[in-house]
Structure formats: C-alpha cells, structure tokens
C-alpha cells in the first residue's frame, strides 16, 4: 500500500512538472457557424463581479444618459441566418442576499447591450423587458439578411431614474452582497 502511494505520488508529481515545463505558446481561435440557424451565448466576466456599489465605475451620470457607460459586465453572441427573430432581455434589481431585509435592500440599474459599431448602436433597459427585433440588428452579407453579433459587450450603470434618486437609494443601502438575475430569451417568428 505504501509503495502504491509512493508510485501514485510520483506519477502525479511528474504530471505537475510536465505541465509546468510546457513551453509558452500562442493560442488563436477563428470562430464560424456551420449548419446552425441560431447561436446564442452569454458570458459574465468573472473578474468584474462583485462590483462595488459605492465605486464610481457604476456611478450614474446624467450627462452620459445618451451613451454607454458603466462597468463592463460581460458579453453576448447572437448569430442567425434569418432576421425573423427577436431577443428579449430583462433583469431584476440588485437585491440584498439577506432576504429578511425589507428596507434599503435593493437598487435598480441600467443594462446596456452593444448591438454593433457606431454611437447609436446600443440598447438599454432598466429592468423592463426589452425586445430587440432581428431586423433592427441585421446586416446584409452576400445579398442575404443575417444577424451577426459576436462577443458584443454588456455594461451596467446604477440608475434609479434620476441622479438624485440613485444617490439617495445608494447611500441608504444596507451593506452586504447584492444579486440580480438577467434573463435572455431568443424567439423565432412563426
């Protein structure tokens, strides 16, 4: 038994040594879509959460109301061979993880989704369901109207509707961890 343990330990150790000694390399990836009519993926950046509600990264700034700002929270991909689809996005407010709290336990935010290049190519929601219709985000490739949004970023900014309201809610929040659920659904027109 002791010998077996030693042998196993040596094998494991050598695996670690081999892994550590592997030379550095460059990884490249080219993505494509084959034989699939719709691809939808969402990724939340782990290093972006949890973010500080007191931090200026998520501070609501009314002068930026017409543009994307906030903390970059993740990215999404939506590819479709037909524009006859819609993407629905909604989210709950950030709510304190202690469900016994009944006051000063939540704050709303604005979620931005980039939908292409250019100043106006984004959509945002303060929680209400946002329907992004396929034709509004489609592009024409080889005379065919398609949707190709790959790794587009999402941003979060605190937003209770006004600068003063956001400040008031934020300053009174109970300390602790807050959570929000973002829900996406992809629909095909039938």
């Amino acid at each position: 038994m002791k010998k077996l343990f030693i042998v196993l330990s040596n094998i494991l150790f050598s695996l670690f040594v081999l892994a550590a000694a592997e030379p550095s390399k460059y990884d490249f990836a080219i993505s494509g879509v084959v034989r699939s009519s719709i691809v939808f993926q969402v990724t939340i950046f782990e290093d972006a959460i949890p973010f500080d509600l007191d931090g200026s990264l998520v501070t609501y700034n009314p002068s930026y109301a017409s543009m994307v700002t906030g903390i970059r929270i993740g990215q999404y991909t939506l590819v479709s061979r037909t524009p006859s689809i819609k993407l629905c996005v909604s989210h709950t407010p950030l709510v304190h993880s202690d469900s016994s709290l009944t006051e000063n336990n939540q704050i709303n935010y604005r979620l931005y989704l980039i939908t292409g290049d250019g100043a106006q190519n984004f959509v945002s929601t303060r929680g209400e369901q946002l329907d992004i219709l396929g034709p509004s985000i489609s592009t024409t490739v080889n005379d065919t109207e398609v949707i190709s949004l790959i790794d587009e970023y999402m941003y979060v900014t605190l937003d209770e509707g006004s600068d003063a309201a956001t400040e008031a809610v934020c300053s009174e929040l109970e300390s602790g961890i807050y959570q929000s659920t973002i829900t996406f659904s992809v629909w095909v027109q039938t």
Partner: protein
C-alpha cells in the same frame, strides 16, 4: 339566416386570428439567465485599499478605448476641434493626483521623422467636467460651497466630509463652473498636458461627535481614521483635437509646407502620478 350570421361571424374571427398569428407569433428557441453580483461596503469597519483607475472612451462614447486601439479623426478635424476621446478617472485618494497625457508627433505611418512633409501639426484642448463623489457632483476650486457628504463606507459614523475638488494646469487661464479647458499645442513637436487634481486642498472634515462641530481641511486633521483614502470620486473630461492643416494638405501655420498623402499617426500615453 341565423345560421348564416353565425357562420360568417366564426369565419371573421378565424380570419382575424390567422392574420394576427401570421405577423406576431413567436416561438422561444433559446435562452439563458445569468446572475451578477455587487457589494456595498460596511458602514463601519476596515478601511478600503487605495485604488485608482483611468478609462478612456472613444469619440462616440460607446466603447472604452483599450490599450493599443486607434482613434480615427475625420476630415472635419482640419481647422476645427474634433472630439477625440473622453477620460473617466476614478479612485479614492484624497491627496493630489496628476493625470498626464503625452501626445507624440503626428507623423506619416507613425514613423520617427524630422521631415516636415511627413508630419502634421495639431493641437489639443482638454475640457474637464466637474468632479463627482459617489453620485454627487461636487464644487471645483472652492471650499466655500463644498458638497456635504456623509461618508458611509468607512471611518465609522463620526466624520462628515465636505467635498470640493481643485484642478490646476499652467495653461488654464480661467475656470468655468461647468468645467474648464486646457489648450495646448505642439505645432509638430511632442507635448504633454498635465491635469493636477487635489481634493485635499478644498475638502473639509467635520467630526460630528465634537462639540464645536468645527470643519477642518482634510489635509490638516489627524489622518488616523482616513489613511489617505476618501469616498470614491469620478473625474472626467474630453480631449478635442484640431489638425492644423488645410484641405490642400498645407500646414495652416506655414502654407509653404505640404504634408504627403498617407496615414498619420500620433501615440497618446496616459499616466497617473500620486503625490
């Protein structure tokens, strides 16, 4: 007759349903839900670490400019200021911090050259916005109207902060309530613009437990409970660039020099210094 009316009614309803279904019906084919998390600091407890971050937004303010990304200037930038990028500088140091923008020579393909036909002069105007603490806009360059702000993220509950910011730059000739500007030009040579922010010169602190309720400048009171950090601030502004060439590619500062056709590039480096 009764039957005919009933059948007609049913047919009308069916037709309406069919028409409605044809244009509006959707079937869900995919979906996902994700949880994001945030935190609110303890109202009392440990002091946060000193931290600062600078982010640049592109000319359309839609994306953050990442290291190495190009910002393209349109023809409109010839002879008039064009919004090149914005900065959002955030952190929690109450001491003086300096934001330095270094602009290199704008030369053909970014090459190092002294041939005047291979670089073009340009100038930059930095327009800053009033600073913010948390979600509050605070006063600039004056302590008399400092924004009261009860700090709730650290130091306990006895200190009330009266935040005001200051910004100084040798090129700033006047300060406006809504912001100010710092013009700089190089006429072909590399140059830099340094914006020095100093919250400690105007911010005051009041010990709410003290009987006299005296307000003192933050840099004069005992700092045992502050450790050089204050509530998070947000200092932002916009850089405008004007290319000093005419439409025929001659320099607007010297029409005898004509820039070659090609792509001109100037590197911009942003640095942060904490005193």
């Amino acid at each position: 007759m009764k039957k005919l009316i009933l059948v007609t009614l049913v047919l009308c309803l069916a037709a309406q349903f069919w028409l409605f279904a044809d244009g509006e019906s959707y079937t869900q084919v995919d979906g996902a839900s994700r949880i994001i998390t945030a935190y609110k600091n303890q109202k009392t407890g440990e002091l946060p670490d000193l931290s600062m971050a600078i982010r640049l937004l592109d000319s359309s303010d839609t994306e953050f400019v990442e290291d190495g990304k190009d910002i393209n200037l349109p023809v409109d930038a010839r002879g008039s200021y064009y919004k090149a990028f914005s900065w959002v500088f955030s952190g929690n140091a109450f001491g003086a911090v300096t934001l330095t923008f270094s602009f290199a020579r704008m030369s053909l393909n970014g090459a190092n050259t002294n041939n005047q036909t291979e670089y073009i002069p340009y100038k930059v105007k930095m327009v800053y916005s009033p600073s913010k603490v948390g979600n509050s806009t605070i006063q600039m360059n004056t302590a008399s109207t400092a924004q009261a702000y009860m700090t709730n993220s650290f130091t306990g509950t006895t200190y009330r902060m009266y935040y005001a910011d200051s910004i100084s730059n040798g090129a700033v000739s006047s300060v406006e309530t809504s912001g100010g500007e710092s013009p700089a030009s190089n006429y072909g040579n590399a140059f830099s613009v340094a914006l020095s922010y100093n919250m400690s010169s105007n911010t005051k602190v009041q010990d709410a437990d003290a009987q006299d309720k005296k307000q003192e400048y933050i840099n004069k009171v005992t700092q045992n409970n502050h450790a050089n950090v204050c509530d998070y601030w947000n200092r932002s502004g916009t850089a405008y660039v004007q290319l000093l060439i005419n439409n025929d590619r001659t320099w607007s500062t010297n029409s005898s020099i004509k820039a070659k056709v090609g792509e001109y590039r100037a590197n911009v480096t942003v640095g942060v210094t904490v005193q």
